[in-house]
């Protein structure tokens, strides 16, 4: 059995969709999108087996996939909670109280930045860099969705609503 058999039909379809955008033989350009697709189906993180599967499917050496997975901040290479919560703490958000928001969320969830809740529900991403929503500061991203001009009430409601 080939490693690539680990990939679902949907993921393969996604990979083909991206591959078609690049010239023949330049399938390496599809590595990032492939990893997004695989990670999305695997509750938000990558495993060595899944990375090997992507390499096999794209007919690339595994290092071409590993080096991408470890370079970019959106890829997680260790198990994390299934909901990804990222609070921007960069300068525009900091000026409008991001540090207090981080403290509030850490206290509420009982974990520190970079950790996941014990029930595997929430991953609180390590101190997040600018997400380009500076005029809506303070802001955070929950499973790719932007939430701006945050108040602690709003945050509580958002976090409580995650299954």
């Amino acid at each position: 059995m080939s490693n690539a058999d680990l990939l679902s039909a949907h993921v393969k379809e996604e990979i083909e969709h991206w591959k078609s955008r690049f010239p023949e033989g330049k399938q390496r350009s599809a590595v990032i999108s492939s990893l997004h697709a695989v990670q999305h189906e695997n509750d938000g993180y990558l495993t060595a087996e899944l990375m090997n599967a992507v390499a096999d499917y794209l007919d690339l050496p595994t290092i071409h996939v590993y080096e991408v997975a470890t370079f970019y901040s959106m890829f997680q290479t260790k198990p994390v909670g299934r909901h990804n919560v990222a609070i921007c703490t960069n300068v525009s958000c900091m000026l409008r109280g991001a540090d207090d928001i981080v403290e509030h969320v850490e206290n509420k969830l009982g974990i520190k930045l970079g950790e996941s809740t014990e029930d595997g529900r929430i991953y609180l991403k390590r101190e997040e860099e600018c997400l380009a929503a500076c005029c809506g500061a303070p802001m955070m991203m929950v499973d790719h969705k932007y939430h701006e001009n945050l108040s602690t009430d709003q945050i509580d409601e958002l976090l409580n609503g995650l299954d």
Binding site: L35, H64, E67, V68, S73, L95, R96, E127, C130
Partner: protein, 434 residues
């Protein structure tokens, strides 16, 4: 003084379904592109028009866009690429996201015109990964609408012009905003800047001639071709043609993205955004994203927001991201946060940047924790000087400039903190006022 807003990139903002083809066409969208399809403009004429408009790159460096286009080889037989940089990630900057969400057709049309001018038949828009939920689908929907309307594709409306446009989605790395790191990333590799020369115009994506332009530079092009170079250049002062998209953030009453003529006095921009929040006093402004040198209130209040005015006072226009700080702001704390960013985002390729950015962050942390020493302040500047100019790409310079400028203008705050074991001057109002 009243200013006309939203003249180019933001032209459809506030209108119903501002992102749709219908709305864009009601705002004269695709008129310029249709003129080209009809055979009324040669590539050389397009380049001359953009040159004459005074449009300068909106991604931070301010390089003249038309001149950049003219660097592409003329040879029509070879594959050439156009790449748009929508990897918006300079701290404080959030206006490309607005173009992608609310007026994506301006970018699609701008890319089509740019590609035609340079003889590129394929283009990619590199969009940062975090934009996957809203800006990416909006852009892709616009591309699809344009294909369905026969505005993109092969032999477009029988004109003989081929142009295919695709989105590409990144995965989180500030360095990919650097144009050669972006190309590496687009090729599926780590985003590590390439040594130049060769420049992308000769050896770019897949080794082929490539031009990379910022989202707003490209989204400004349709209005320039439609209304003429003279119209665009007259919107701003000499050397800074057109409009700028300002992201005004931080301690401001009405933060937001404002498209205004280049050269607007800072004072007027501040008024337009409702002034400093909570009726407080202005302390400092970073005028163009966190890589630009900070300017104290008394300097920026006399500046106009354009390339030459900000350069004359030792800073730069950057991305038009205006970060406002009031008089309660601890400058040591702000600088430490900025330094952490460059440490986290250094790609690690060049030793001065990889090691130096960590030194800067750790020394600033030491000062904040009350363990700083007087000589640390000279050492900070020394380390910054040793990074600046000694790296493959500009990230090293971007890490150095904030340190140099914060210490130049606010050295007393750093000294106060060292002497008082971590206490900030802003927590001691009598001292702060003196």
């Amino acid at each position: 003084m009243a200013y006309e807003q939203n003249l180019t990139c933001f032209s459809t903002f506030g209108q119903e379904r501002s992102y749709s083809l219908d709305t864009y066409e009601k705002n004269h969208g695709y008129q310029a592109w249709r003129k080209i399809i009809a055979g009324d403009l040669t590539p050389a004429e397009v380049i001359e028009e953009v040159k004459a408009s005074g449009l300068r790159g909106r991604g931070g460096a301010g390089f003249p866009t038309g001149l950049k286009w003219s660097f592409m080889p003329r040879d029509a037989s070879m594959q050439k690429y156009l790449v748009c940089n929508s990897d918006e990630s300079e701290p404080g900057t959030c206006h490309d996201r607005e173009v992608l969400r609310h007026n994506p057709h301006a970018l699609v049309e701008g890319m089509a015109i740019a590609a035609y001018a340079m003889g590129a038949t394929v283009a990619y828009n590199y969009i940062r990964g975090e934009f996957i939920d809203e800006p990416v689908p909006r852009f892709e929907a616009a591309v699809k609408e344009a294909y369905d309307a026969g505005l993109l594709g092969k032999d477009i409306q029988g004109s003989g012009i081929d142009f295919d446009l695709y989105a590409f989605v990144g995965a989180g790395a500030y360095i990919c905003g650097e144009e050669t790191a972006l190309l590496e990333s687009l090729e599926g590799k780590q985003g590590k800047p390439r040594f130049k020369p060769p420049f992308p115009a000769n050896y770019g994506l897949y080794g082929k001639p490539t031009t990379i332009n910022n989202t707003q530079s490209l989204a400004s092009v349709p209005a320039i071709i439609r209304n003429g170079a003279a119209w665009y250049s007259s919107l701003g002062p000499e050397g800074s043609g057109g409009t700028a998209q300002f992201s005004v953030s931080g301690h401001i009453e009405s933060p937001g993205n404002y498209e205004l003529p280049m050269g607007i006095p800072f004072k007027d921009l501040l008024d337009l955004c409702g002034g400093v929040w909570k009726g407080r006093k202005l302390k400092a402004v970073i005028p163009g994203g966190s890589s630009c040198r900070v300017l104290p209130a008394e300097i920026i209040m006399d500046c106009t927001m354009d390339f030459s005015s900000l350069q004359q006072v030792g800073s730069s226009f950057g991305t038009g991201a205006v970060i406002v700080m009031d008089d309660t702001t601890c400058m040591v704390k702000v600088l430490r946060r900025i330094s952490r960013f460059y440490m986290a985002e250094s790609c690690g390729q060049c030793t001065p940047c990889r090691e130096g950015t960590g030194w800067l962050y750790r020394m600033l942390t030491r000062v904040l924790e009350g363990k700083g020493q007087e000589e640390d302040l000279d050492k900070l500047v020394d380390v910054a000087n040793k990074i600046e100019g000694h790296t493959i790409c500009a990230l090293g310079d971007a890490a150095a400039w904030p340190v140099q400028s914060f210490l130049k203008h606010y050295r007393h705050e750093f000294e106060y903190m060292v002497r008082n074991h971590g206490r900030s001057v802003v927590d001691d109002p009598a001292e702060a006022a003196a």
